[in-house]
Amino acid sequence: MGVWVDTGQCIARVCAVGTFGGTHAAARRRAPSWWLAFLAWLGVWVASNLAWAQAAKQEEGFAPIPPLVTRVTDTAATLNMAEIAALDQKIRAFEQSTGGQLAVLIVPTAQPETIEQYTIRVAEAWKIGKKGKDNGALIVLAMREKKVRIEVGYGWEGALTDQESKRIIREVMGPYFGKGQFAAGIAAGIDKIALALTKETAGASADNAQWRTPHQTDAMERLGDWLFRIGQVLLGLLVLVAILFMMAMLALLKLPTLLVGGLGGVGGYLFTRSLLVALSLGVAGLVVAALVRRMLRSARGNGWVSRGRHHVYQSGDSGAGAWSVASGVGSSVFSASTSVGSSGWSDSFSGGGGEFGGGGASGSWGDGA
């Protein structure tokens, strides 16, 4: 599906550029058409990214991931309303004391996946915990398999270690679940988790932190990314404009059209070793040479020619420059909107963008932990 999205984007961009180019006949209307083209491009871009994100969410045949609306999600009808409300209150208090987020999910089954595979998918979708801090935890119960998993975000891995999670499941939650007391078990587990987190010392988190590939500097990374991309684009543009400019110069020197096109093609091939580039640069060379010759034929003196070239350089450069700005604006708008997520205009609970790396522990109840 991504293929068609990308193709659509490319076609939209080409059309938008064509629109821009095509308005040369109506100079007075040039500005509005340009903005129209940009808006059209932005619209296609946003829509295609949204569509792709939606399609990626649900995969065939796997256990569905419920949407994150409340702190306690029970699709297996294990808890009653009073128990859910009590757990919700407990989690709110937990958030106050630890500063992070916690969510509970009870599903009938995680199959065909293991509970670890299912839980990491849920964690990636729900994004419990604050972005950058990754201070989130997720408790998932799969009723049919009688398995429970505590999934811990990157930021809490140091305080709530794997072995601690394992211990909580084995010694605290397991016994309750074995007796069918799910609400009590979850509540006791949350208490223990809070204890581990608030007991956190700098030493404990440093211990686990050495194993994490550096992850934190998110804002700086994004800025660096941005600058890198702009730099790349500008460099490429510079090269292309330079090649076209050189071809125009050659044409001005009254070289035959075909020779200019041929030289452009040879140059392109030498530069990139790609026949396609050679062909397209050859064609571009022919076009440029032809245009320049027509220019020369109707030129009324050198002054006009040099003015024309200056004008051409400006509009070509500004068109392409505006393109990279547009794509930059578009991508930052889109990523800003996705990171905000569904931050409630009601009291609904939503993730803060926290990330998970697979830390935590699983266990089972009933037939032995």
């Binding site: 991504g2 293929v3 990308d6 193709t7 490319c10 961009r13 080409v14 550029v17 064509g18 180019g21 095509g22 040369h24 006949a25 065939e60 045949g61 065909p112 670890e116 595979q117 990491i120 270690t161 794997d162 072995q163 601690e164 999670s165 394992k166 211990r167 194993w211 590939t213 991309r229 790349q232 684009v233 490429g236 543009l237 292309l240 404009v241 990139t272 396609l276 580039v277 397209s280 571009a284 076009v287 440029v288 245009l291 027509r294 220019m295 024309g308 004008h311 051409v312 509009s315 070509g316 068109g319 392409a320 393109w323 990279s324 998970f356 790396g357 697979g358 830390g359 935590g360 522990a361």
Partner: protein, 204 residues
């Protein structure tokens, strides 16, 4: 002034098709994402290897007579950590396979060690041993998650490189398709219950 603006349009079309549009940035960032994902996989493999000495010592305390199993784990760890996992490792199929095989051997040896430990109830109830097993399970899961994300990174990158019209840009700049990550013979080597991220047949 017609042809001046036509020229401008031609220039912009060429620039857009060539560079600003159609995937160059996606490919470049995709390439970096693949490298980062591979670093994370290697990171977690190393984490598992570092758990081994403590685990071996703890088991020795209760089950010193299980010499072969203990030696097997120690040797497997040695060969796994002997291979330097640089980012270029993925480009060398022979060395890459050796690296993955060594990791698979280590996983198998650990599974056998844990199976043997089942026979020693005192060992099983030892707090330190339990902690180490908990850490080991966590690390195995982290390895699985890191591999899953590595596979996804490769898939995203390959999609951009292979599909039209971004493959034109790929040819222009020499972006090649990357081999997808597979671990052969993993079932044969390891007896531990493993996390399998290949897509299963749809449940009936």
């Amino acid at each position: 002034m017609n042809y001046l603006k036509t020229f401008a349009a031609a220039g912009v079309v060429a620039a857009t098709l060539g560079l600003t549009g159609c995937g160059y940035n996606d490919m470049a960032t995709g390439d970096q994402a693949v490298k980062a994902a591979w670093s994370e996989v290697v990171n977690q493999y190393q984490r598992r290897a570092d758990l081994v000495p403590n685990l071996v010592n703890t088991v020795k305390g209760y089950a010193a007579q299980e010499k072969e199993v203990l030696e097997a784990v120690t040797n497997a760890r040695a060969s796994a950590t002997a291979i330097k996992a640089t980012p270029e490792l993925v480009n060398d199929p022979v060395a890459f396979k050796k690296f993955l095989d060594a990791q698979g051997q280590l996983q198998g040896a650990l599974a056998r060690l844990l199976a043997v430990a089942e026979n020693y109830p005192q060992l099983k109830s030892d707090g330190l041993f339990r902690d180490l097993v908990g850490q080991l399970e966590g690390t195995e899961n982290r390895i699985a998650v890191a591999r899953k994300r590595y596979i996804e990174a490769i898939r995203t990158y390959n999609n951009t490189v292979v599909s039209f019209p971004t493959n034109l840009t790929a040819m222009l700049f020499g972006f090649k398709e990357k081999p997808q990550f597979t671990v052969e013979n993993e079932a044969a080597i390891s007896t531990a219950p493993k996390v399998d991220f290949t897509k299963p047949a749809p449940a009936k």
